[in-house]
């Protein structure tokens, strides 16, 4: 069918899609449709490691199967749980690719633009499934990096706060100036071979300030 397919940008075609097989966890509450989608995924060069329907613990299932990507129906009731895994990033996050049975090509284009990785099952050549997944994985990795930076920035801030509180404690307790208190902390850290924040935390704890 010679219709415009937004999934096939040049950028995507440059990916060597046969280099590796993708391990896919397919989540679909409709078993008949799941079988059809699974067939499409296998033809597209994916390994479907599990087909899950209405499962109780998705996190556990992702861990057990070693799935790299989750493929799920746009309207599947499990979607919010998948979002929960993605947002609470300690819980085995994986990129999620959606399929819709029917959709207008411009809607799929708009979805990709908005950051929703989706493809249409009906009338779509299997070869076009894989590029969507690769886009999803790339975006997911970029986003993970952002998340990690966010978490790092947060822990930096927390560490700085700990050090500030420990400094204030030393200034109060030992009547030190701020630079003196900081030097004392730094010396303690060097003597014990520990990080400044760790020394600050244990000092606060010893003094019942935590």
């Amino acid at each position: 069918m010679p219709r415009h397919d937004p999934c096939l940008s040049n950028d995507v075609l440059s990916v060597d899609r046969r280099a590796t097989t993708l391990r896919v966890l397919l989540v679909d509450s409709d078993r008949e449709r799941a079988a059809a989608v699974e067939q499409g995924l296998v033809t597209a060069g994916c390994t479907v490691v599990a087909v899950a329907a209405g499962i109780d613990d998705l996190v556990q299932r992702v861990r057990d199967t070693g799935a790299e990507v989750i493929v799920c129906g746009l309207d599947d009731p499990s979607r919010d749980e998948l979002e929960g895994m993605r947002a609470l990033h300690r819980d085995e996050p994986r990129p999620v690719v959606l399929f819709a049975e029917k959709a207008e090509p411009e809607q799929i284009e708009a979805a990709l633009e908005a950051g929703v990785a989706a493809y249409v099952v009906e009338g779509m050549a299997p070869a076009r499934v894989r590029p969507v997944m690769e886009v999803a994985i790339r975006r997911f990795r970029a986003h993970q990096k952002l998340q990690q930076e966010l978490a790092a920035a947060r822990s930096d801030l927390e560490e700085r706060k700990l050090v500030d509180r420990a400094k204030a404690l030393l200034m109060r307790r030992d009547r030190l100036s701020e630079p003196e208190a900081y030097r004392r902390l730094r010396r303690m850290a060097m003597d014990r071979g520990k990080r400044l924040a760790a020394i600050a935390a244990s000092l606060l704890q010893e003094n019942g300030a935590d």
Binding site: L74, D75, R79, D80, E83, G84, A110, R154
Partner: protein, 371 residues
């Protein structure tokens, strides 16, 4: 001339073509204003053709708004913030035209957990819950698992606030997971979760099944907190403000109807028929009565007083998102809160002579970071 011969029909053609407004909602008690507006013909009476769809998940609603398969939706309050920030990679510009509901969620605990807490009168104190978590930790028992309905939800942020007010770190002392509301009672029964914060009727359903005990309502944490919103795809609201105003007017009219105690039984029948065919009427009605299952009447689900969208109240949720590290530091308040606008509400309210509702309550004070 052929053009002239067409002229008599021109005036009719000048009217905007009546396009169907596609609105999505999630089957919850607080979807009542939209379901009622449709059932009572309130959309028709403002000249709107509406297709109201019941969606299976918040993620589906979010995505469909983001890629134009829906024009408007019943949405979790913090979700427009998440979409403005592009959290989890999904970005969309929305316009929050109205608030839908105040209060209406419960924190419900499994029967064994409620028994371990001993006898308590709702609302359960956060300090009592925290003491139990510490006792379990001291005894080497597994950490408790609590479910919320979506990461970017009032449920998640009010629950986190309550836990932190008891001195707990929700990311360290407990496990928070996401479970869709219709599944929470079953998961509680199967012991896969120890409690949940979810919208009605699902807390009352767990209580009616005898698998859960309602410990408190979200209104006990922030009395009359804003809950859902009516959000439009911003491009749609900009292109067709008349439809957005008309739709908001229909919503306000529905909340007036819901406010009348005499209409409650009919409202419950509408909800049962449209959204909860498997639930008993008293279970659905509980939310309107202020959580009948032994909870105080302090914070029942209310609609009419909650329709005006208030940016300063949404800002509380943004502060919580910052506190828990859920939004990038570079995101400005003005960018995140831009979807909240009052002009559509004011235009709609003027048509109905709806007075501006008083500010129901101030948000709870921010907790110190070290709590």
């Amino acid at each position: 001339m052929p053009l002239d011969s067409d002229s008599p029909v021109r005036p009719a053609l000048k009217r905007p073509v009546l396009r169907t407004l596609r609105i999505g909602c999630v089957p919850l008690t607080d979807a009542a204003p939209l379901l009622v507006a449709e059932e009572l013909g309130l959309f028709d009476s403002v000249g709107l053709r509406v297709a109201l769809s019941l969606e299976a998940s918040w993620a589906a609603i979010r995505d469909k708004l983001a890629f134009g398969a829906l024009d408007a939706a019943h949405l979790l309050g913090p979700l427009p913030l998440a979409l403005a920030a592009g959290l989890d990679g999904v970005k969309a510009k929305l316009t929050v035209a109205a608030g839908i509901g105040a209060n209406g969620n419960t924190i419900t605990l499994s029967r064994p957990l409620a028994e371990a807490l001993g006898r308590f009168t709702p609302p359960l104190a956060a300090s009592a819950f925290a003491a139990l978590v510490r006792r379990r930790d001291g005894a080497g028992e597994r950490p408790l698992t609590l479910a919320v309905v979506f990461p970017y939800s009032s449920h998640n942020y009010l629950l986190r606030y309550w836990l932190a007010s008891g001195g707990l770190d929700p990311d360290r002392d407990l496990r928070l997971v996401t479970v869709p509301p219709p599944m929470v009672a079953q998961r509680l029964q199967d012991g896969l979760i120890d409690g949940f914060c979810a919208g009605e009727p699902w807390g009352s359903q767990a209580a009616a099944l005898g698998v859960g005990t309602i410990a408190l309502s979200s209104g006990d944490i922030w009395p009359n907190h804003p809950e859902k919103v009516l959000a439009f795809d911003a491009a749609y609201a900009a292109q067709d403000p008349e439809s957005a105003i008309a739709c908001t007017a229909a919503l306000i009219a529905a909340t007036r109807w819901l406010e009348e105690p005499a209409n409650q039984a009919e409202a419950v029948r509408i909800l049962q028929r449209r959204a909860f065919p498997g639930l008993a009427a008293p279970t659905i009605a509980a939310a309107f009565d202020g959580m009948a299952q032994g909870l105080p009447q302090a914070a029942p689900l209310r609609f009419r007083t909650a329709t005006l969208p208030r940016r300063e109240q949404a800002a509380w949720f943004l502060r919580q998102m910052r506190r828990w590290g859920h939004v990038p530091a570079g995101l400005s308040d003005s960018a995140a809160l831009a979807p909240w606008r009052q002009d559509i509400w004011r235009a709609a309210a003027a048509r109905l002579r709806e007075p501006e509702p008083p500010i129901a309550s101030q948000p709870p004070a921010d907790l110190p970071e070290t709590a």
